[in-house]
């Protein structure tokens, strides 16, 4: 067992599960989507991205790409949240919430691809 692989797999799956948790619920209901969850998703996703640095296989490159996509989506979601709450005084209207959650939904998709790739790689190793 390779401890590096354990940590790697752990963070990738954790990024997916947290993301899914945040995404779950009514899309425009602020009560269903807690900001701490978003924070955790962002941090875990960033860690997962860093862990994918420096892998020279084709699979590594695609994994890094999906992770970067997820980061981009989540950071945009966080930015929308910050803008709505602090910059423009709009507050948590259903429209804002819906856009934050749908952005995280995009990240969720990228994370799903990441995990699928991870599973494929594991299956291809056959040991």
């Amino acid at each position: 067992m390779n401890p590096e692989k354990v940590v790697f797999g752990f963070f990738i799956v954790l990024a997916l599960t947290l993301n899914f948790g945040f995404f779950l619920g009514e899309i425009d209901d602020p009560d269903h989507h807690h900001v701490y969850e978003l924070f955790a998703v962002v941090v875990v996703n960033l860690i997962a991205t860093i862990l994918k640095f420096g892998d020279r296989t084709q699979m590594g490159a695609v994994l890094l790409a999906t992770s970067l996509v997820a980061d981009l989506q989540l950071l945009t979601a966080a930015l929308v949240w910050a803008l709505a709450m602090h910059v423009s005084d709009v507050g948590f209207t259903p429209v804002v919430m819906a856009s934050i959650v749908s952005l995280s939904g995009g990240a969720l998709l990228a994370n799903v691809v990441s995990v699928v790739l991870l599973v494929i790689e594991t299956v291809m190793l056959r040991r």
Binding site: V35, Y36, F39, V43, L46, I47, I50, L51, F53, G54, D55, R56, A78, W81, A82, M85, H86
Partner: protein, 567 residues
């Protein structure tokens, strides 16, 4: 090279991870700890402000307690996270900066940029391995002819000096070991437009390795090598290296040519020289009497063999015959710098002296001592170092042999005007009379400067007008091409030296030989003639005038008018 970039990324993982974790912990703590707002209400910091605060805290910018003054519980957390994030920040940033400055990483970046630059190369180019004295001279003369060159050298200082040179063309250069195939490939060895590889480092084994790599990876290109020993030379020849240049043998051959036929020697010097330089005087090495050869190294041996072939008796002076070996007749032990050894070699009766040790100071000393003892001596000096040029000029040797410039010159001819190389090889079989005649013809044309030598090919690119003319069955001869397109009664100051048609080669082709498409011609003459000839070759009207003497109307209207006037 790829490895090191991945390695750098991999090494970035730890600093970046610690940075993210430390920041996340600090931000999370700040949002969980309650504080008080301006009115004394219980207040929780939100993520936005927490991230803002941590960002300026960790970078030690510190704008203060924003947006409200902190409670003591918050301050306690800030003390803790302050030390944590600041230390982590410095650790991470320091680590990342040192990674970027890492020598291997930098080298990898340079190599990548270099190979990318070569990939974009759109014109044929030569790869020159070894940018020393020889390489420098060669790069200069090739770029002067607007040929593209790529240089590799193992020494960063020499690459830096290349960037300071004021060259006509941009020369991409890389500091790397050319013995490693990877670097040769980066320099464009496998590039479709790579025309040749020139291996002129000062290490024989390196040249050998470069030659073999080039021949294996890109068999079609020209490979030109410097070899200082016959052993290496034979080795290079065994796998088909195109040209192998031994500076000592080359010079010995020159000297033998000068002994045999001074005319041929002058012809050689003039045609291979750099145009616009003043004409050199012919030299006449004496035959009658014996020669003294000081130094029996690679150079001394080559000269001694040639002199012997010419039937000239030579006495060898060598300081360490046990190391270098000695000729069958034996030799005089000594350096040759003292009068005594020279006297032993019977200097007063000698007619020629070769100062051929590998030490410039010794060579100069030998010449000065010898000239004192016997003023009329014909002196051949070997100059090892370019910097000593002025003193070698001052000592008044009749012929100075400088290995670097001999190699550079020869390669320049090979790459720049391959037909000239063939012409000179053929000229070697001619009588001295023939060469003298040609020399006097050249003198009449060029007056006081060395002639320009150029090749033309009757191809659609280089001679559109002529090719079109030949295609419709008209006759064009070398004499036509030599007419001045401004006044056809005059002829251009140049001489056709060689005509190559498929495999057959004619030296000094007759003025009335009918030309065919695909012919290659070699001309020598004044620089101005070259440009005017290019005019005749490419411009239909210039060619028409040269052939017929009439200038036809060029535009449609004038042509119609003329036809109308004729009827």
């Amino acid at each position: 090279m790829e490895n090191i970039i991945f390695l750098a990324f991999r090494r970035m993982r730890r600093p970046l991870l610690t940075l993210i974790v430390a920041h996340a912990v600090a931000v999370l703590g700040l949002t969980l700890i309650p504080g008080q707002d301006g009115d004394g209400n219980r207040w929780y910091m939100d993520f936005f402000h927490a991230f803002y605060f941590v960002s300026f805290m960790s970078t030690t910018i510190g704008f203060g307690e924003i947006p409200f003054e902190f409670s003591d519980a918050q301050r306690l957390w800030v003390i803790f996270s302050l030390y944590m994030t600041v230390v982590v920040w410095f650790y991470a940033i320091g680590n990342l900066l040192s990674l970027v400055q890492d020598k291997g990483f930098q080298q990898a970046i340079t190599e990548r940029r270099f190979s990318q630059r070569i990939k974009r190369q759109r014109e044929p180019f030569y790869v020159i391995c070894g940018y020393g004295e020889t390489g420098g001279g060669l790069v200069r003369s090739l770029t002067d002819r607007h040929q593209n060159v790529v240089a590799i050298d193992i020494d960063q200082e020499r690459i830096d000096s290349l960037q300071l040179e004021n060259l006509q063309e941009y020369v991409p250069a890389l500091c790397a070991d050319a013995r490693r195939p990877r670097h040769l490939i980066e320099a464009g060895l496998k590039h479709a437009l790579c025309a040749g590889v020139v291996a002129i480092t000062n290490v024989n084994e390196a040249n050998l390795k470069i030659a073999i790599t080039s021949k294996l990876l890109h068999p079609k290109i020209k490979v030109i090598c410097r070899a200082d020993s016959h052993d290496i030379e034979a080795n290079m020849r065994s796998f088909g290296t195109d040209y192998i240049i031994d500076p000592y043998d080359t010079f010995a051959l020159h000297l033998a040519t000068a002994l045999q036929s001074p005319g041929l020697y002058v012809l050689n010097e003039w045609l291979t020289g750099i145009s616009h330089q003043p004409l050199t005087e012919p030299v006449y090495p004496p035959h009658k009497g014996h020669w003294i050869v000081c130094g029996f190294g690679r150079f001394g041996k080559a000269i001694y063999r040639r002199l012997k072939d010419e039937g000239i008796h030579a006495v060898v002076i060598e300081a360490t015959p046990s190391l270098t070996g000695h000729p069958e007749e034996g030799c005089i032990e000594g350096r040759g710098t003292e009068a005594e050894t020279l006297e032993q070699a019977d200097i007063r009766k000698a007619v020629g002296l070769v100062a051929g040790t590998d030490n410039d100071a010794n060579n100069l000393s030998i010449i000065m001592t010898a000239k004192e003892l016997s003023p009329g001596l014909f002196v051949v000096a070997r100059q090892n170092n370019q910097d000593n040029e002025s003193i070698f000029e001052a000592v008044g040797a009749d012929v100075v042999m400088h290995p670097s410039s001999i190699i550079a010159n020869k390669i320049r001819v090979l790459l720049g005007t391959p037909l000239l190389y063939r012409f000179l090889s053929l000229a070697m079989y001619q009588e001295d009379e023939w060469a003298c005649q040609l020399v006097s013809r050249i003198t009449a044309i060029v007056e006081s400067e060395l002639p320009e030598v150029w090749e033309i090919e009757l191809s659609p690119q280089m001679a559109k007008a002529v090719v079109d003319h030949l295609a419709i069955g008209r006759l064009v001869t070398p004499a036509d091409l030599m007419k001045d397109p401004r006044n056809r009664a005059r002829s251009l100051p140049c001489i056709p030296l060689l005509l190559e048609r498929r495999k057959s080669i004619t030296t000094l082709p007759g003025a009335e030989t009918p030309l065919k498409v695909g012919d290659k011609l070699l001309y020598c003459g004044r620089y101005s003639a070259r440009g005017r000839m290019a005019w005749t070759l490419q411009n239909v009207h210039a060619l028409n005038y040269v052939l017929t003497g009439e200038s036809r109307p060029q535009g449609l209207v004038w042509r119609l008018l003329k036809r109308w006037a004729a009827t």
